[in-house]
């Protein structure tokens, strides 16, 4: 959307995805099973059965296990997001999309059979146990503060700690747990990732947090890891390489958020445009009032820029870069732009805009959270400023 399809195969997939989301998924948007902690698993599986039948489930991973390029993924995932329910129905949602990507890159063959296959087939959901309670001093946006620890025991490890804001934990069947395994000076070599089948009595959901967003199945949970045992065979990749793998997952997962929410926000803009074209006030359609028409023009520009940033960053990842700075730039630019767009859509629609009668109100809430999830805007700017300083000094030495 707002940029052409990069390849024919992405067009073929994207068009079917868009048709499915518009024709089928949007019918579920007022379904009472869309709760404040996300759509129920029952609803998810009902929609996935339809997607499977239409051949659009997990559309970014091909039948042979190959993954679309990031640029192609952008074209497909944006369309999967045309409904906030789309990523749930199509299995392109967070954190599963990122988890599948990571497992595809790092997991062993046996691990893939056990942990990845049920995800790709859309039969199970997963969770990524990384962030920790901020007020207790744990890792919020600062990975150096990781407090959950894993201690060797027999042929495996015992993990203890508390994880916060774990998306989808409630109801997940696959878990990836990040824990401290070393006190090395370099914080980047202290952590290891572990794979866990869920439910497991040692992984206890303390509560599902009430949050402003409501699109992700299972919501966001506080989880106690209480002597969780993981055998060595379920260590993901190498011991102490957890931060490295987190980096591999980072930019694509971050970018896929941008893709999906782009789609939802573009749809909100469509809804607001239709409303403004038909609803009249003071003698003419709202859109003919510059006060409204200019907001929609601003939306168009913001959406175009967001689409271009997504594609730009996708290409850089496709060229083999970690794209850490580029994905920070894109995440800030896109989340802030989409928020402006969503806010204008709400405003254009007046009372209807703050009601649940259309998805506009939900999209506004989701994007508000998105400005914080995956690193608040300020953390990204902080690291970008460091980069500017570093490059300014480098250029002077040249």
């Amino acid at each position: 959307m707002y940029t052409p399809y990069p390849t024919e195969r992405s067009r073929a997939i994207g068009e079917r995805v868009e048709a499915f989301v518009r024709d089928v998924v949007t019918q579920y948007e007022q379904d009472p099973r869309c709760g404040s902690h996300g759509p129920s698993d029952e609803l998810m599986h009902e929609m996935r059965a339809l997607a499977r039948a239409q051949g659009v489930l997990t559309p970014h991973i091909l039948a042979d296990g190959d993954h679309l390029s990031q640029l192609e993924t952008a074209a497909v995932l944006k369309r999967s997001g045309i409904s906030p329910l789309g990523p749930v129905a199509l299995n392109t949602m967070a954190p599963d999309e990122g988890n599948m990507y990571l497992l595809g890159k790092v997991a062993s063959a046996e691990q893939k059979t056990l942990f990845l296959d049920p995800l790709v087939s859309g039969q199970a959901r997963s969770a990524f146990f990384m962030t920790e309670p901020a007020l207790e001093g744990g890792a919020g946006s600062d990975p150096g503060m990781l407090m959950t620890s894993a201690t060797p025991q027999g042929d495996g490890w015992v993990i203890n700690g508390r994880k916060m804001f774990i998306t989808g934990a409630d109801g997940a069947e696959v878990g990836i747990v990040m824990a401290r395994t070393s006190e090395a000076n370099d914080p980047k070599t202290r952590a290891t990732m572990f794979l866990v089948k869920l439910p497991n009595p040692a992984v206890r959901t303390e509560r599902v947090i009430d949050t402003i967003d409501s699109s992700m199945p299972g919501g966001h949970a506080v989880v106690m890891l209480d002597n969780l045992y993981v055998p060595n065979a379920h260590v993901l990749g190498q011991v102490h390489e957890g931060f490295h793998y987190a980096q591999v997952r980072l930019s694509p997962a971050r970018l896929s958020h941008c893709m999906r929410w782009f789609g939802s926000t573009a749809r909100a803009h469509e809804i607001a445009s239709r409303y403004a074209t038909h609803r009249k006030a003071f003698g003419k359609p709202l859109i003919d009032h510059e006060g409204v028409g200019f907001m929609l023009a601003d939306n168009l520009i913001d959406l175009q820029q967001a689409a271009l940033m997504i594609d730009w960053c996708a290409k850089i990842i496709d060229e083999g870069s970690l794209a850490t700075a580029e994905s920070s730039m894109t995440k800030v630019a896109v989340s802030e732009a989409l928020f402006r767009v969503a806010d204008r859509c709400v405003q254009v629609m007046g009372g209807l805009g703050v009601s649940g009668d259309t998805i506009v109100e939900q999209v506004f809430r989701e994007i508000r959270a998105f400005r914080i999830y995956d690193g608040p805007t300020e953390v990204h700017k902080w690291s970008l400023a460091k980069k500017i300083k570093r490059e300014t000094l480098l250029k002077e030495q040249a």
Copy 2:
């Protein structure tokens, strides 16, 4: 808050109100009876009993029926808003506060006994039936489009129509209904206000709308008026004078929204300031990061300006003006400023900011709605532009 008490009596009342809200009302903020359509009537009455015992119920109306000046009201209502539940507990909430003001100005003695007294005592809730469904062509922000009609019948009137976004209708015991009674050329002489005891079988709640805000008991309803009979004795004031009375109610009611939400947002700023003072990231308290500290500094400035605008407009109403333009200016300035403040508070608090664990997330949602309720920002700017043109031409003729 942020400006000194204007009088000794307002200080006496305001200090007790603030103490009650902070000590008692905030205890209820996580009460499960705070639903998505507002706190339940049970919860409301439980808090009001405590407020009554403390002598802080309906604090802006004195024992002898006198009303505080608007400037004094500002000092008291801001404090009542320190919790989103405060106005419910203290009977300073919308639409009751505005309805009491209107009835106090226009109702006959008999009408006061019947309709006003149960409101002032905090025993009943009320609703103001004015706005109509936008997509059906009714009166959204444009009063000229009023479609609900009242036809004379016997010693009274029969009213038919559909009302949209009627705050508190569900559960109200007193209703004020605006209906078209004439086809006069001047849209300002076409409407009449009617008083109704509720529940009444001719006043049917079609549904309570799911909205982004959740502080007002009864939520916002779509209501069908189906052959509602009102005797002449329950016409409020004069026939065809409805728009005139709406004007009388307009600025004070609009301003009281500003007052209450000011209090809630100032509290959100307190919460965010405390969080930023104690939570550390990257080696120091968040507030010592300029990226966070500057947001809080901006909050301080925005709140100060909002407080000054409220007092400025209050004084103008106290001087006898309708203050239509001034209340438009104030509503725009205050709602937009409070939204910026609430948004920054959410951002400062990160994941906690988008959770229901503090009131910050709710305040953000409420203020989003406030930018639309009581006339969206754009409608006010539209009328202000007209005023600038008019005055520019006048000055040139002088």
Copy 3:
């Protein structure tokens, strides 16, 4: 800058252009011949002689008369703008660049020899006589209001009228004059373009306007056309086709503004980044203060988005489209983004930022004007809103 070179030939040209601007042109930035109405012709010719010697003059037009694609032009013109003097030195400046483009597309072979060749060789400057005095009711941003008229006389036309804000008129040797030649209902078939050798006694500069910007030789003039005779042979293209040709010139000329100012603003960002890296306050480099570092991070994002928008629009023109809507979107997005960047650069540099000691202050002034030149932001949003309405209705019929 900020996007890779699209082709090898654009890289070859672009790298030489960048080197010339950085090494040679920037040396002239404090030259006293840079006046408030733009650099003098003497200074221009001095710099052009050096550019000619280096083979970088008129770099976007190849030796055989071919023009780089728009995407390639973007890569080259952005670099020509690294100094505000660069486009003057390299002959990529407005309005000459757009005029050369137009003449290349529409002029006859004889007209090219007479009017285009001296421009391409950098020996002469040109002006585009289109806009008219707003307060007299003439064509500001609204082409339907064109008042200058051309009347047939003998083998030619006699033109009378007043033109406003004619960039470079003072000192130009080639003029393109737009005048009304018909009263047809369709305003798009009323105008004709005429070519004029200057100076001509019938083309009288009334005054050169003092403006906030100061980069364009000749400044912006008010010009009286007083019985200006133009032979039929100097009608550009067909009679009554003036608006059509204006459309051909429109998007590329608009986009080339974006390209050049992008370069200047990117340089301002470099200057501010260096300053912030070295200047200390309160114990550390300015850039380590988040209040400053975040501004530079915002610059980086804004510049990246501007670069992407420019390339996006360039590609669409290269595909054969007039790109009217796309160039409107790009002009708004880029001019507003560059203004934010320039404003932040000024702010980062404090007192130095508002002084003429670096180009930052000039860039800020230039970009302020750019938000108005070539159609103020609001006019573009107006036409974008119309487009959104049109497309919304079309989609519904589909």
Copy 4:
């Protein structure tokens, strides 16, 4: 303007000031003696002679030497600023207004005769030698970095150093010089203020900086102090108390900037409103286009808030407070608001807005500088964040 006169005497003075500025001073706005380094002294004295004759010179200091309260001063100085030349003509300009205030508070009787009287009578100009070159490590916005030093010698002191951005130095007859006289740990007890008659060969203007603003006579200079001798009798107040006196001068001088620029910006808004009321585009007056009308509505709100902030801070100073935090809040709020207003005025007026044909363009440039002069916005936010932290901790201990 935008708030009522606080007293009858301020009304009497304010009305005469406003009439003089509108009727007389505005006539000089296109005078060629208004140069890029401010109006010439000749022009200044010509206007002051007229002001003296009308009894409006130095209107904020009464005949008996008494000073209007700050709240009254606000009412008068805002009106003096209705033209950017007004403060020059009326002797309410910076830095003289602040210097007179300081001398009135601190100077001895003999010093007043020698240094203050020629200022109050409008016969001489003064300069305040405090800020130092940033890139050399001197005191920009950070007073702890003061490098200019004064060494005792005989019955006086010898001062050496370099001062940057000294407003009005070129042509001043009175100087107040801040220099380091001690190496005490507490940076607040290290500096002393000295009074100097100018010109003095030891005070050498190195250059007058070209800056974006152009309203202040003498411009802003870089000044070398080269063995400047000052007798003890010309030490202002006590030795080592310089920072303390700087604090006394700080808030009133800062606030008077807000007052004057408020007046100029309010006038720019008047000009833009008139233009928008009369200039037509696309078939109706500009102001009837919401895109323009809404900008003017935003102006009205911003100006009202700025006026209220100024009065609020003035009252706090009148109550005896240093008002350091309050004047920081006000300076940030007012300078940023006025910039938005000036920017919108430019935009509303299109090409005319960026031309020198009205004062709008100059006001825009002046306010841009004002966002930096007297402490850039970021420095104020930095100190406000400290204050929020301090008060948050204090409240918790209570």
